[in-house]
């Protein structure tokens, strides 16, 4: 379980252009949850992402992972607990290494049990259905953007992190590949029980795959809606004192 509690982030504190990017922001991400964060530019999505990845230390509030408060945030220590996939497919993989070696590194998150090891996470790779499992000795720099992003996701979750953070991870992909990646995301969430927090602008993917959609505006949660499966009409989104929408 990952939680941020009453977090404030203030840019240019004490200056004429002081801005509260996150205002008393609280969010609890439960096990198995698939949360999507949406919001217009400048709403506070990126700031929230930076807090969760340790790039920004909150001015006030708490950051708790599995019941333990993270006081001094250092990215490389935080990333032992959190898997992360960025928009750029190249940022999550190691292009000079083979697919097999990339998988080994994913398993060795935080330098655990270093030595000589064989690849793991082959099931996920096979499940993708894009044939990467047959090209284990291929250098990653020879792969396409979509293939790299799939591999980046598998690397990010190989060591079963406490949470998977996705920063517009399908933005650079074509719709077909984006769908495949989203199916993999769902599989990771459901089968590996890893909570997922995704930031996106793509409303189609959001409605199709998310269980919970949080809209941020002015550094605060402006709406928080949950999806409920309905056998007759597909997915129904509903929230406290909010509108109800249906997605078939």
């Amino acid at each position: 379980m990952v939680e941020i509690k009453n977090v404030d982030i203030i840019y240019n504190k004490g200056m004429y252009n002081e801005k509260k990017a996150l205002d008393n922001f609280s969010l609890k991400i439960e096990k198995n949850e698939f949360i999507t964060i949406i919001g217009h530019n400048g709403a506070g999505k990126t700031t929230l992402f930076k807090v969760l990845t340790g790039s920004l230390t909150p001015d006030s509030g708490k950051y708790i992972i599995n019941g333990r408060e993270i006081k001094k945030v250092r990215s490389h220590i935080l990333f032992k607990k959190i898997g992360i996939v960025y928009q750029n497919p190249d940022s999550g993989v190691f292009p000079e290494l083979t697919i097999e070696e990339n998988l080994i590194l994913g398993k060795k998150r935080g330098m655990r049990g270093l030595g000589f090891s064989k690849y793991d996470s082959l099931d996920l790779l096979t499940g993708l259905g894009i044939g990467l499992e047959k090209r284990l000795k291929t250098k990653v720099k020879e792969l396409s953007g979509g293939q790299k992003q799939s591999l980046a996701m598998i690397i990010a979750v190989s060591s079963k992190p406490s949470m998977l953070l996705l920063d517009e991870h399908t933005a650079a992909l074509d719709p077909k590949m984006a769908d495949k990646i989203m199916n993999l995301t769902l599989k990771i969430n459901k089968e590996l029980n890893i909570p997922v927090l995704m930031i996106t602008h793509n409303m189609n993917l959001t409605e199709k795959y998310s269980q919970r959609i949080i809209e941020i505006s002015g550094g605060k949660i402006s709406s928080d809606i949950f999806a409920e499966e309905n056998s007759s009409s597909g997915k129904i989104f509903c929230g406290k004192n909010m509108f109800i929408t249906e997605v078939v």
Binding site: H76, G92, F94, I104, G110
Partner: protein
Amino acid sequence: MNLLGIAEQGLILGFVALGVFMSFRVIDLADLTPDGSYVLGGAVTVSLLYRGIPWYYAIICAFIITGISGFFTAVLYNKFKMNSLLASILIMTMLYSVNLRIMDGPNISVPKDISEETVLYSESTSLDNFLGDLNISAEQPDKKENRKTEYVSPFNNLSDGKDFLLLLIILLFSITVLSVFLKTDFGILLRGYGGNKEGVTSLGVNKNILSITGLFIGNGFAGISGGIFSLYAGFSDVNMGQGIVVTSLAAIIIGEILISRFNILYNLLCPVVGAVVYEILLSFAMKYGYKIGFQPGDIKLLTSFFIVIVIGFRTLEVKKWLKLKM
């Protein structure tokens, strides 16, 4: 033309090229420290020989001490957020003074032999002569000289194949150790760091450790090379490292052109093969170059020019530009 001697020099250059390969290719950090750590390796090795330490221990010490100079470059790069080139230039400049201090001068020659000082000899002074009648000097036993001579350097410079064999064994051993290391999980991480520096942080790994390790090993090999060169040539000079990074880069590029497509042992053979070929080309240029007005002092100009041409040809813009001109 003594081909064996040229090959021997190529193998010595191979060590430093291996070190430069480690920093420039494996971890992808531009590091000029080897210009200073190469000399440091020689200075440490020769100084230790004077203290009676065997050459192989001296070389190991040179590896560690020059590795530490790489560690300091990495500290400037990581902690002071300096550009790796600036950090390495600063350490290289510092090493110039350090080397002068270690050698106690601009150069130092390798000791030819070691004397075990059980030097026993008889002493007589004018006072002894004066007191001779009193027979006081008889109480002092005669001292004998027992001088044991041992050849310090393992190289005989006779081009009889022994030097070549020894260099080849040390080099192949180093390549084997390095390739086994690069096959470990930490080695994979190190190679991964070269291609994606931020990516290793996403894996929960402190990337500083990786740059420190890479620069330590890279400069360590430059130190080994400097040490072996000093043993081979019989001296260490404060200016002998000038341009060694550029020479090593030329060797790496030649090696990559020749054998990188085979991807043997993570391309660790490229700098070594390239270094031998470079030395051969160099000796041809020295021997026959005068016919076209070539002078020994032009070597560095030609080496740098060669690197510019090869790197230039690899870029698409240059290829396009040449097509347009033709």
